[in-house]
């Protein structure tokens, strides 16, 4: 039944093998057609002649939407274990990438974050706990504080000794009840319902979400106090109301999934709503240039930071997001000196709606190393207090969060984890716009699958669960306020790392 598969652009017959096999238990299948309707890629099809549902395995992306919604549990997806002759260099993925390019003649695109086996340093760091010499603290019985303030802190506080009035001028701060924010995902890359859920969840949990570079739909202005409005190189959707409504502004210089290159939202995803929000014609490609064409140097960045501060009357923090690259420490130091109230670092494993695969898989450095070196550099220069550090890029659980705080972060960004919470199975197909879970699509038929009420609950649950776990771990270390763990690398020990890696991370080997 398999129809000949052709490359969409060049119409060449494909030599690519099928990646996944759809297993259907015909005894269980009741031919209800749920799988047919649920799949965004048209994998399942009713064979009219036989009255049986069959599958086009070669189209399957292993997103598991059909598996999750099959009412009789008749479906399973497994990897096609097609064997190549063993070769450490010419592995299956390498061969298939070449085949795909020989057929398409283009840049290979992909979605989500780097999936390669680079070291995950979180998994080589272990946390401390109190025994005997100081008591651990039970968060069920004692207060345990996670509140964090995003923004620049003064070098010292001058207080009038008589009136106890604060004389030091303070810059704007944003209080967060959990040290976790939702990272930038633009409307267009993700559906409106997802944006709404992120906005509502951030509001309910007392944190912030980030609009990404696609502007902000006016229907979500009510959640402005929990919104970071992003200003990126394409300047999509940036206007006075947009800047005014956000609680903080973020200048996006780079993204961990694709450092050094811009963005591309294909015209197919630019629906009427997206077009209105981005302030571009419907159906046109939205291209974000690689650099900001008004920022060719650090002094230009300072100008944009202060232009945005002036435009908003110094009423909100202005942060700068950069991808974690080789000279992150020096760049971050410049960014802080340019006046940024926070620096967001996005690591090698940070995700994307669409990026060239070769960039995603080969450019940037792991966030753990970038964070450690940026925190150290800002301390060495005596300016660590002048900006908060926010890190993102592959944060998977509360363990990663607390280790990031101990390495020096004030707050972490999560995006992939948030999308997983509302259904994403990390099939890395966001760039197709056909997301069966209704997340990374603007097709109304698919996008309405995200129920904002339910998605909000799932996101709030995730943050609540992580918060409870963070409190348990803090209490175990004998700490009852998050700020006492920030940059406290003595509570970390390394296993299985080289001397050089431990020096960069500023942690000692376990057992020492």
């Amino acid at each position: 039944m398999a129809s000949p598969k052709l490359c969409r652009r060049t119409q060449l017959k494909t030599y690519l093998p099928t990646k996944f096999i759809v297993e259907r238990d015909q005894d269980r299948c009741i031919q209800c057609g749920v799988c047919i309707r649920q799949c965004g890629w048209g994998v399942h099809e009713l064979d009219e002649e036989d009255g049986v549902v069959r599958s086009h395995d070669e189209l399957c992306r292993a997103c598991h939407r059909c598996v999750s919604f099959c009412p009789t549990g008749a479906l399973n997806i497994r990897e096609n274990t097609l064997s190549y002759r063993r070769n450490a260099n010419w592995r299956g993925e390498v061969i298939e990438d070449i085949l795909r390019q020989a057929e398409s003649g283009g840049i290979l695109l992909t979605g989500m974050g780097n999936d390669k086996e680079y070291p995950i340093y979180w998994d080589h760091l272990l946390l401390n706990a109190s025994q005997v010499t100081n008591p651990s603290i039970d968060p069920l019985r004692e207060p345990m504080e996670l509140r964090t303030y995003l923004g620049a802190k003064p070098d010292r506080l001058e207080v009038d000794p008589r009136t106890l009035e604060v004389k030091t001028p303070l810059s704007s701060q944003v209080g967060l009840e959990v040290p976790i924010m939702f990272s930038a995902m633009s409307f267009g890359a993700i559906s409106f319902n997802v944006h709404e859920a992120l906005a509502r969840a951030a509001t309910e949990a007392g944190t912030l979400y980030n609009t990404g570079e696609g502007g902000l739909d006016r229907r979500l202005y009510g959640y402005g106090d929990h919104t970071i409005v992003q200003v990126a190189s394409g300047r999509f959707g940036v206007h006075q109301d947009y800047l005014d409504v956000g609680r903080a502004i973020e200048i996006k210089i780079g993204q961990g999934a694709k450092p050094g290159i811009g963005g591309h939202l294909p015209g197919e995803k630019v629906s009427a709503d997206v077009a209105a929000t981005r302030m571009i014609p419907r159906g046109t490609d939205a291209l974000s240039p690689a650099p900001h064409h008004d920022i060719y140097s650090i002094e230009d960045l300072a100008q944009l930071i202060y232009a945005l501060k002036e435009a908003t009357n110094y009423s909100k923090p202005v942060g700068v997001k950069i991808a974690a690259v080789h000279n992150a420490a020096a760049i971050a130091s410049g960014v802080v000196r340019a006046g940024a109230d926070y620096v967001a670092l996005d690591g090698l494993r940070g995700a994307t709606g669409a990026a060239p695969k070769v960039i995603r898989d080969n450019v940037g450095i792991p966030i753990e190393l970038a964070l450690a070196s940026v925190d150290r550099r800002l301390r060495q220069e005596g300016i660590r207090n002048r900006a908060s550090i926010v890190v993102g890029g592959g944060i998977r659980n509360s363990g990663d969060v607390i280790k990031a705080i101990a390495l020096g972060a004030d707050v972490v960004y999560i995006a992939t984890a948030a999308l997983i919470a509302i259904g994403c199975h990390v099939c890395q197909s966001c760039h197709t716009g056909r997301c069966s879970w209704g997340i990374s699509t603007t097709d109304p038929y698919l996008a309405k699958r995200i129920n904002p009420d339910i998605a909000t609950r799932r996101l709030v649950n995730l943050l609540r669960g992580w918060s409870l776990e963070i409190k348990e771990m803090l209490g175990g270390m004998g700490i009852n306020a998050l700020e006492s763990l920030r940059g406290n690398r003595l509570h970390l020990r390394a296993v299985g790392l080289t001397e050089a890696e431990m020096n960069i991370l500023g942690v000692r080997p376990a057992g020492s």
């Binding site: 010499t133 008591p135 506080l157 207080v159 106890l164 604060v166 700020e483 940059g487």
Partner: protein
């Protein structure tokens, strides 16, 4: 090459840990009293220490030389003494110097050479540099230098006496029963990971600020990283050192009132701050935002003293004991009430302060600031 850091923390642990007994007494009328009472009181808490450190801080100690910085220095050998003395004479105008009088038969462990110097900064300080800053720099230079020498007291009209032994034996060794002061603090130490070194005992001091401390700070790494931004070198790697530097930064360099400095070390909970009046709330939010990295997290009780005042403070959920008491002009702070009752059985008032609630007693004001607040509570 000699290294005080190696001696303070011989196993190279994250930091030096210790538990303790602490005691403090101030005569708020400013009358100088002998040490017999304080020595008996700290001796009564013998079992809270293990013979690896005892010490005392005394204020109003040198009335005849009250204008000079009194440097108490310990030496491991004569060569170090000669080198450092030469350095002292180059760096200061030495007004008077002598051996610190000792009872050689006292039960203490391997006493070093102990001398004191009364010095003026004179014209030695750099242009625009204050005398205090100059003295701090010289002390840090000697203590971080390569000689077997350690300056363990550097304030005016006050002095620290400390060593390896039980506190009552250290007092015996230094003949403290022969001294008088209006303010006494005392400490008995129970270290878990440090070898016997005289410099490691409490009080820890910088200029006239002294700290005796019972506890373990879980936030040590954060505190240290923050202080390093302000050029403090935490060479001894003890919690007490970090507390002393934090207070030096807040009180001397940033000129915060001691009551507010206490609210940095033991910050009110956010839930408490949220309930304050708007003006007070703004102050405490700003304090925590600015100095959150100096929050001392984990169990501690400290008695901090400087010229004219003594403050007692516990961590904000009070994981280590502190009892306060008043008898006429005398104000007491102690790990255990029994130690106070031993030397002043008939107290006007005795109570346990709230966690994180600073108790400040000052000379001449008679009334210990903060007491009323505690009364209400």
């Amino acid at each position: 090459m000699f290294d005080n850091q190696m001696r303070a923390n011989p196993y190279g642990d994250d930091k030096v840990m210790a538990a303790c007994s602490i005691f403090g007494m101030i005569d708020t009328s400013g009358k100088r009293v002998g040490g017999q009472g304080v020595i008996r009181a700290i001796a009564n808490m013998h079992d809270r220490s293990n013979g690896l450190g005892g010490g005392f801080g005394i204020y109003g100690l040198y009335p005849e030389l009250s204008e000079q910085y009194a440097l108490h220095v310990m030496y491991g050998d004569r060569a170090s003494q000669r080198a450092v003395e030469e350095y002292l004479r180059e760096s200061f105008d030495v007004v008077h110097e002598e051996e610190i009088p000792c009872r050689r038969q006292a039960r203490v462990h391997k006493p070093p050479l102990l001398r004191r110097y009364f010095v003026d900064v004179g014209s030695h300080a750099a242009f625009g540099q204050g005398d205090d800053d100059y003295v701090v720099q010289r002390v840090m230079e000697i203590n971080g230098g390569s000689h077997d020498a350690f300056v363990f007291s550097s304030g005016k009209d006050m002095g620290v006496f400390k060593g390896v032994g039980y506190p009552e034996d250290v007092a015996d060794f230094f003949r403290l029963d022969e001294y008088q002061g209006y303010l006494w603090t005392a400490h008995g130490r129970f270290p878990t990971n440090s070898q016997a070194w005289w410099g490691g005992a409490h009080p820890f001091s910088l200029l006239d600020l002294t700290v005796v401390h019972n506890g373990e700070i879980s936030s040590y790494g954060s505190n240290k990283a923050y202080l390093e931004m302000y050029d403090y070198q935490c060479t001894l790697q003890t919690d007490t050192e970090v507390i002393a530097y934090a207070l030096d930064l807040l009180l001397r360099r940033h000129r915060l009132p001691i009551e507010l400095a206490a609210k940095v070390l033991a910050a009110p909970l956010w839930s408490e701050i949220d309930r304050l009046e708007p003006r007070e709330r703004a102050l405490y939010i700003a304090l925590r935002q600015t100095y959150g990295s100096l929050l001392m997290n984990g169990p501690f009780t400290i008695i901090v003293a400087r010229q004219g005042e003594m403050i007692g403070l516990t961590d904000r959920i009070r994981l280590r004991p502190l009892t306060a008491a008043i008898k006429d002009d005398l104000f007491f702070l102690s790990s255990e009430e029994s130690a106070i009752r031993l030397i002043s059985p008939d107290l006007d008032r005795v109570w346990t302060p709230l966690g994180g609630e600073p108790l400040v007693a000052r000379v001449r004001s008679r009334e210990a600031a903060g007491l009323e607040e505690a009364l209400v509570a």
